[in-house]
Symmetry: D2
Subunit: 366 residues, 4 copies
């Protein structure tokens, strides 16, 4: 299993299993001189952390990140940044039920077949616990992008099962455990998730994540397009099954006159493209949507086989998020930050003028 | 513009502009001993080629590929494979209308801002012409996968605007210019595209691409997941705005009991996951869907600005596909082949047992 | 500072400064199923560790490595392996003399100019302390190579200043603090280093490292040759100024008839090539030599400038190895192991037959 | 055989065999706006070309390079640059003697064992013919470095067998077929090579290559050091067996007081380091030396085995350079240019201030 590194110039390499001693990673390529401390990263880690509300899993994961290197006297030095998050509660529980059986919807079967060995405790490497490191690494990127370019990255839940959010108020998002940006839908979500928990079932979700103040010109044509790298980043988040940029699948029924974003001297009239044309940022808001499958760990028994291929039934005990999509919000933000940061550095490598080219038109039409 | 290489172990690096002397590329990492000649690649190039029917662009691009290296006495040697496709018709037309103005929906504006210079002839590097090289490179991967593993990769159109295809007969797909797998819908598509051309407009499309006989175990957990790399590959195809694996965005309203694919000793009961769990192939059919935006080049005038930011109107002359999604079918197949090939080699690097581990359950439930 | 990752398929990414909280790294790409524990790595760490004898620095660095992930029930799982070595003695000493001045021969000046900021404590990221992580990572590769292929990697000192070692007995190497393979030269080295310490000066060294039982066929033609990657690995070790493979610089005065290794059905007659032809291993012993410059930290005052460009004098206080070359022996072994391991996996990716092709001739002529 | 790409941000990927249709490559990452045409590259190609004098091989290789993409109206566009050099004289000669036997000192044996198949015509992929593409790609880097930074890269022969060059006059180097910078040694070299040809034998050589006006700060600490990447580049040139930076192997007998380059407000007093400290450029001249083995193709019969392991004798017919080291001069220059270019872009990615940091001391002491 190589493939634990994300990013070409600003990269993060992660390690760690759900129930090992610790998880962590190395962030490589951070420019020197950025003021950085652990508190800069802890906020998003706390947003991702389970157990923060009654709606998400009650497992305790004190996601306290330590910066082990790369920062000196409060500033990044240009050296690689070591990140460590200890697993405080990794004592072995009773895993006899999943040790020899494959939980449907989980990676148990594929890991066993690929590697011939599997750390079954809490999903091992396939656990979403690993995403805490992505959130910490993304936090560094977020800070840099914010400080140097005023780039703001914001995620929120736009749908959970039948409950569709229409109104987006970024001031609301972080006031509720659902990352719901519409205060009028919080009660409905609350009720829906409550019922689901009683039922012992789980539900899918749609997450939106966007970035404003992105400079024009980020992204490399052909393979390493900004949108292609975003798709890679997002589809790599546990449970994601679909990714859209801009209008996404709605384009299937759009005509050319519907979709193309016309331009005026004051800026683009519309943003169907989602801020990316030909794989390169337009300066408009970058708009991304994800579909996340329902949590596979549910307390309704499912049919499966054991390690010898014999039929078995399985119930996933323990408290699990009925909607993994919720906690994906800070993860998606982190991944978008990592992609933008990487492309910012890549762009700067070839062009000394990231700032000096004045866009022909304003980024956003007033 | 670095970023012209796709793949880590089986890689293709491309070059070339729409109206330059030639396009081409280098395929690196092909195992030795594969029988290969130009005819193996020409078939898919002809499927992608414009001008094959009245429905696609009438420009003549004799996409004749030459293999310049890496093959000796009919077999690959393990050396890098040079591919060359001459542009036979690259005389400069009149580009005065697009030289100084940005066509809405095109990469004109972003290229100009990123690079400060732009080969405006036919879209230059941003033209879909470059995808011919991907198709040729994908052809090599396709042949290897087919010969060694019996992997079959098949794409088709599943929707064009309002015309939705439900029935899939792979024997029908290549008998019509729409890559439509449903013979009862060909007439409707024909009529729809005719009307659209009269109107001077264009339309989006949905493409499906799948692979059967994929071994269990391809894909690397965490970042370089099989599905994440597929998303990267597909979102990197010109005009793609959305990618789904398995049930895709339908999962948003699915419950855990709906989505999880239960398992019996005879195989998985269902394939909502689309053949990937935890980023690793399950042995089931890999199922991918793409959304392609409508062609931006249409003959209905659009508002834009010129290079100095002044308001301008623009009509894209010339004959253009009213639905770029159609030609994306062989491109998507090629990209899926490239991803699978790369992951096959990556898997083999770490595990000598690609074949030797007997899957616990059959790949497909009978 | 990106560039903290070594290797393509079997890679190590390191972090950490001399006087930070900890150093560590991530090993990615280790095949599953290898028995591994911390003791497997500690032996080489202890060999590299300063303070083991009166001849090397007396600083105490309890290089105790922890494996944080990637190993389950005593075996590697295929997941990335997190390595951590705490810095137990990182309390700040008095660095006022080097904080604002550049020690000649050190990286102080170049770091300050490159990054505009510098962790001056003990050399920060430029300290050889970082190599402990390479030794730990190399230990994993060593074990794999030894277990699966019987590959033995051995390093030793072949020259320190005027003292040239001619006789090589691998059983002697690890019995003395100089990694000297010739028992008749130990006393001379001892006397030479003693005198040097009195003088307050330091000396260069030559290190040999070799690998036996390397399979034929490792290395990729053209850029990623086995010898080119070895050169990259070795020149990347602190203080190395020269690298040779096989006869090295002696080839300058050799004729074709002197150098070419003739072949008989019983094997190669000679090994001037050092086990690599055309960038690919021949099956013979891989032979590498390094030149290491004298320690830059000496107690004889040197001319320099301070951070403002004013003339200054500097003495490096503290106890430092008079010959950094000595401790480079286990580092060079580790780097050779990492290169061979990476190429073994790369070779396996393209060729399923690492073992199955019987070499036409025996690896070593009897 | 993956591994045909060199460079991370400014990369070249090559293809082609000695007797195939063509050789070529793709240069990716060239910044936009550089004036470039084929004549900029042809000069160095002609210097590398065999047949230019009676001292090098008489084979005719009209190394005429075509730029197929990435340049528009005389300037680079930021798109990848396709390079093509046709093999004009690739008709098959009689290769019966080398088809089934392994020439000692050549890659015949290792290619056959690695790949199980081998393009034996003229050495196939292992032929030095491939280096023409490196020279062309390096020419692009050379031009950029020269135009933007005034960096001058110069190579020359410093020794051929017993003939040692002491005096270096860069104005002399390109006036003679040996790239000898000392006009007083040209006659001796001429006589030596003549005698060697009569004898049917070959000889090794030492090549120096240097770069002036390199900005302070290029190179990434730890693995991707400037010197480590130079070593990788140089050891990857056909026939190279040793690489030195600065004093190289002379450091083995140097004391700390001999080696460390002391600093004054007017610059470094000396340059034993060869322009690199801690893997990062100091601003001084970058000094590199290579050892090249004698040509393996000689007309004196050598012992070998055939493909079945039976004893055989072999004479390499045809006219071959008696000293391959000579033609390595422009190749080494090209590789140094590629390394510096790549590191310039990498440095720029992390630091916007390549030019803005004023070095504390002048690059070169007056």
């Amino acid at each position: 299993m190589s493939g634990n590194t994300f990013g070409k110039l600003f990269s993060v390499t992660t390690f760690g299993e759900s129930h090992g001693l610790a998880i962590g990673g190395v962030v490589d390529g951070c420019p020197p001189g950025l003021e950085l401390n652990e508190e800069d990263l802890q906020g998003d880690l706390d947003r991702r952390k389970p157990g923060t509300s009654k709606y998400t899993t009650a497992r305790r994961e004190d996601d306290e990140v330590k910066i082990l290197s790369g920062v000196f006297e409060g500033k990044t030095t240009g050296a690689s940044i070591g990140l460590l998050i200890n697993n405080i509660d990794q004592r072995s529980q009773d895993y006899s039920n999943i040790k020899d059986s494959f939980r449907p919807g989980h990676a148990d079967y594929t890991y066993q077949q690929k590697f011939g060995i599997r750390d079954y405790r809490g999903g091992g490497r396939s656990s979403a616990r690993e995403t805490a490191v992505r959130v910490a690494a993304g936090g560094i990127a977020k800070k840099y992008l914010q400080q140097l370019f005023g780039i703001e990255i914001r995620g929120y839940i736009s749908q959970i099962g039948p409950v569709v959010i229409d109104k987006v108020d970024h001031n609301v998002t972080n006031t509720n455990p659902f990352f719901c940006p519409d205060k009028d839908k919080i009660a409905a979500l609350d009720q829906y998730i409550r019922d689901l928990k009683k039922e012992g079932n789980s539900i899918g979700a749609r997450v939106c994540v966007s970035a404003t103040n992105v400079p024009v010109g980020l992204g490399e044509p052909v393979f390493d397009r900004l949108d292609a790298d975003i798709a890679h980043a997002m589809m790599g988040i546990n449970a994601v099954k679909g990714v859209e940029v801009g209008d996404g699948f709605d384009v299937v029924t759009q005509k050319g006159t519907d979709h193309r974003d016309e331009i005026s001297p004051k800026g683009f009239y519309t943003n169907h493209a989602g801020g990316v044309l030909g794989g390169i940022s337009t300066g408009q808001e970058v708009l991304v949507q994800l579909a996340l499958k329902p949590t596979s760990s549910i307390s309704i028994s499912g049919k499966t086989v054991d390690i010898n291929g014999n039929a078995a039934g399985i119930i996933t005990k323990g408290r699990h998020d009925p909607c993994v999509g919720i906690r994906a919000v800070p993860i998606a933000e982190a991944m978008l930050a990592l992609v933008l940061m990487d492309h910012l550095l890549r762009h700067r490598a070839q062009n000394s003028q990231v700032h000096s080219i004045t866009p022909v038109i304003p980024a956003q039409r007033p």
